[in-house]
Point group: C2
Chain length 133, copies 2
DNA sequence: CTACATGCAAATGCTTTGCAACCTA
DNA sequence: TAGGTTGCAAAGCATTTGCATGTAG
């Protein structure tokens, strides 16, 4: 556990959001100005393998990281990419529906909700009005 | 509707799989040797906007395309990336669980199953045995 | 004829990697 | 001091874009 790894973990836990590697880098840099982006990527990988954090592969190009390593779902804004936890209980038996009807060995599932956050929702309404007028 | 666009659509429908842009390119190239990868990307985008095909943003780095534009779920092999349809009925009311408990305007959801395809399953078992012995 | 589409190549954005120097246990 | 880790820079990969030319309607 190096200084860099410890600070990265501390900062992610302090943020309590769903930052990209680059966002983690920007925050950690305030405490460790000489840290490199590569180190951040490597440690985010290690920390998620250790089960300290969770790597999120949601839609879009950028991976995100979650201070909370427990299984839960997320909702993502289609306009700005903002991600929040989705307060929906895990679907415990959904995978059972596949037994017998797939050739795959089932390992898990991923559920993501798509929507518009309040800020983008307002902007969107305004655009609609403008287009209608 | 250019020759390129028509051929791309025909080939995706003939494949009936879940090809990446590059895989579409390789197949279409057999009929149109001078087509460019950029054209394939642009047309896949247009065709999915037209509702002729569907763009899939599953986990992993690569986007895939589906000849079937209707909503349905998929299962992806964690080892080789193979993708198949998941024979699970769409969850019609799952989004209702979010009403009132999220600040987002809900637009939809995405569900993906993760597993191991038969080929990788066999390979995995062999590895387990090797490690145990 | 005009607007849109193409081929090509360069650029983009995110992520990974090779390597020598550097810590940490 | 041995092995993992770092900073740096370059490479990798999927995708997008600028631009001059070509083509469909």
């Amino acid at each position: 556990m190096t200084r860099q790894r410890r600070v990265i973990l501390e900062e992610i836990r302090a943020m309590r959001s769903h930052p990209s590697a680059d966002e983690v880098y920007e925050v950690v840099r305030r405490r460790l100005p000489r840290i490199s982006l590569g180190t951040v990527y490597r440690n985010l990988e290690v920390l998620s393998e250790l089960g300290e954090i969770q790597k999120l592969e949601l839609g879009g190009t950028t991976k995100r990281f979650d201070w909370n390593p427990n299984k839960h779902y997320h909702i993502r804004c289609l306009d700005c990419g903002r991600v929040d936890d989705a307060p929906v209980a895990p679907l415990l038996s959904i995978e059972d529906e596949l037994y017998g009807s797939t050739v795959y060995e089932i390992v898990g599932h991923r559920l993501e909700f798509l929507g518009r956050c309040p800020a983008c929702s307002r902007r969107h309404e305004k655009d609609e009005l403008a287009n209608a007028g």
